[in-house]
Symmetry: C2
Subunit: 192 residues, 2 copies
């Protein structure tokens, strides 16, 4: 898979990758063990320094890897990855050790960072955990400092999304329930 | 304004009102003093008991009212409210005491609840703060327990959004930056 469209995003503008509320994929790796899960409950938390929050249930393999490694990647999947996203949110690696192969996930890495990224997504935020034992235990809530951000320049450039000009396959997914998602739609501008 | 379309939503399904990542309006009231602001950083946090999180900057009037009253309402504005939503996120009541009148906000109340709701939105979640002094201070992050939820039955019924069948004016807004929003788009279903 070609990564030629991947361009860095200023950390101060990384919140814009999540601001419209897309469903994300959460990936993490500890040693040779890695996993990816889908999550709807991820959110920007601070502009500068850029921070994010994500809810990771105690039953997930990904959470174990996040706790072991201290890092996670949030990435924004697109319409071309609809079935993969659904599967990544349904199958647990604790039940199916070959989950990633069965879901068709291909991983890659950015220089100097050991947290894996999922190929074919439209944005990526590599995050270092800010330890918050109470939040993690009581609310399954993890807070991360964004240490690197990238986006597919066909849909995000100059600090803004450009879904209008790009193929429908690159639109972000917004999960509801039961395998039903919405694609992000039309751009509108307030005129006041 | 008619409220005849407003129907209660089971608390266990209230997360679905936020799951697709819409921009929200946050309202709060203490005594006779009330305010409404726009926020992009709101998220579901737990299915049952239903909980949500929202980031409220220390500089906002709304945050003061949330802290004083112990309650806030998250509501989902729609395309018909595009300019109002932009203004509610731009003007501070600390600068303009007539903010709500100037933005054209009409409030209403659900029985037994003193937290105000904004007319014309498509979903509402009235929330009671779960006090978390560290999160509120260090991260501007407020956690709320959902005590009541309602939606406009033209776009949300039987526990699901039905944007496809409804007028475009009722689509949710997803903020990026600089007055630019996206409308929620097409429904798609995973077939795996």
């Amino acid at each position: 898979m070609s990564h030629s469209y991947i361009a860095p995003v200023e950390l101060e503008k990384a919140y814009r990758l999540l601001n419209h509320g897309p469903t994300v994929l959460v990936s993490a790796q500890h040693g040779d063990d890695c996993n990816v899960m889908a999550a709807a409950w991820a959110c920007a938390l601070e502009f500068k320094p850029a921070k994010v929050s994500v809810v990771l249930d105690k039953s997930t393999k990904t959470r174990q890897l996040v706790e072991q490694s201290g890092y996670f990647t949030l990435q924004v999947p697109c319409y071309a990855q609809l079935n993969m996203t659904k599967q990544l949110g349904t199958i647990s690696k604790l039940d199916d050790p070959q989950k990633l192969e069965h879901c068709g996930v291909e991983l890659f890495y950015q220089e100097d960072l050991s947290s894996p990224l999922v190929s074919g997504c439209i944005a990526w935020l590599v995050c270092k955990i800010i330890p918050e034992p109470h939040n993690q235990s009581a609310h399954d809530l993890f807070i991360g400092s964004v240490v690197g951000a990238w986006a597919d320049s066909r849909v995000f450039r100059d600090g803004h999304w450009h879904f209008q000009d790009a193929p429908k396959e690159l639109r972000s997914l917004h999960y509801i329930a039961g395998g039903t998602f919405y694609l992000i739609g039309e751009e509108v501008k307030a005129d006041i």
